[in-house]
Symmetry: C2
Subunit: 199 residues, 2 copies
DNA sequence: ATTGACTTGTCAGCGGCTGACAAGTTGGGC
DNA sequence: GCCCAACTTGTCAGCCGCTGACAAGTCAAT
């Protein structure tokens, strides 16, 4: 029942990682749509069928990168001081991304550019963010003035969703400016517009 | 240059409408994924190839319904009194949907249920909402305290995006409650959570 | 009635994706 | 070291969404 042996699981992850690396290179060079799964598989020396044994879809190779972000965001939010109000805590949770954008903007720029320019990827990314919203909501719930109780309370999801919408707007502006403006400031601007009284 | 003659254009629209009706029935009965384009085409007595002459994709048959909504929303927002603050105007613009949900909830419920339960459709619907955001933004811009000037100002898009996020949360809750709760109240709750001082 | 614009079906093909099967490889207990 | 069971792999065949090309037909306007 413990699934695969550790060794097998590790090699599996290694193959996945190589697939991501190779595919990413092709995507950046010739575009997502113009790159076929056959091509990716051939580039790492495996059959197309085997590719789909590592990734359930071509999109997954890109979207996998975003999956982890949701958990990181939720973690960051959970770790904020309990007295912090929800909106401020959400803003601070996003600092993890801001930090990344400052250390090395290239990675984020590539990721956002590709996902924004490819409609299929953009759509999937937005869908995935609704999962982020669900991960964030419980940690928002405890920070509301009358704390949220059941799942009937719309406030946590609304705040999380609004914050993510602001993040998207800021990200788009950041990409449009080739990463030259401070992502942190852009997020501030977007989030302050929604809540003028905040931080 | 005037494109198709009126008659041809009208029959074209009629065929499109029938295609939508028939396809919608199949989608509701057996699910979106379980319905093939061949099936839809056969049901109206045309070849699959001709189907794609009326709709550029299978998704378009469903998403076409949403396309008009963005324009309606933007219109409604534009028609709000100029002194109204942005957030209130956005809330009021959404009343058009609220009205529809009260007149006949079934249509909206079906539409939302199908699009929420089918990942591909959910993703595309969210993507389309980023277009709504762009349509709304200019009408938000004029209602800001220091009115927004250039496209560099993130505030209009942020507010529009946040409002749409609230709408989505409210819609989801509305569907979860089988349309028994007032959609207007749910939107109020979500939007007030983001802007406690509002309306 | 003729012409030219428009629509249609058919066919052939690509790309993403899946099930089934057979062949091969490998980790771990003996 | 050997062996077996577990796992991986490639191949093949096929479905579905979608597209280009072509030939046959329909229809509006003259």
């Amino acid at each position: 029942m413990p699934a695969r042996s550790d060794l097998r699981e590790r090699t599996r992850q290694a193959v996945r990682a190589e697939l991501v690396t190779v595919a990413w290179e092709l995507f950046v060079r010739q575009g997502y749509d113009a790159t076929t799964v056959d091509e990716i598989a051939a580039a790492v020396g495996m059959s197309q069928r085997s590719f789909f044994r590592y990734f359930s879809s071509k999109e997954d190779i890109v979207l996998g990168k975003f999956q982890a972000f949701g958990e990181i965001l939720a973690d960051a939010l959970a770790k904020r001081p309990g007295e912090e109000d929800a909106w401020t805590a959400l803003r601070r949770a996003l600092d993890w991304f801001v930090g990344g954008s400052e250390r090395d903007p290239r990675y984020g720029l590539e990721l956002l550019r590709l996902t924004d320019q490819t409609p299929a990827l953009k759509a999937r990314r937005l869908e995935q963010q609704t999962h982020w919203q669900e991960l964030l909501a419980p940690h928002v719930a405890t920070r509301l003035d009358p704390p949220a109780t059941g799942a009937n309370d719309l406030r946590p999801a609304a705040l999380a969703g609004a914050a993510l919408a602001c993040m998207n707007v800021a990200n788009a502006a950041w990409v449009a400016g080739d990463g030259n403006q401070s992502l942190g400031r852009l997020i501030d601007e977007a989030m302050r517009a929604v809540r003028p009284s905040a931080f």
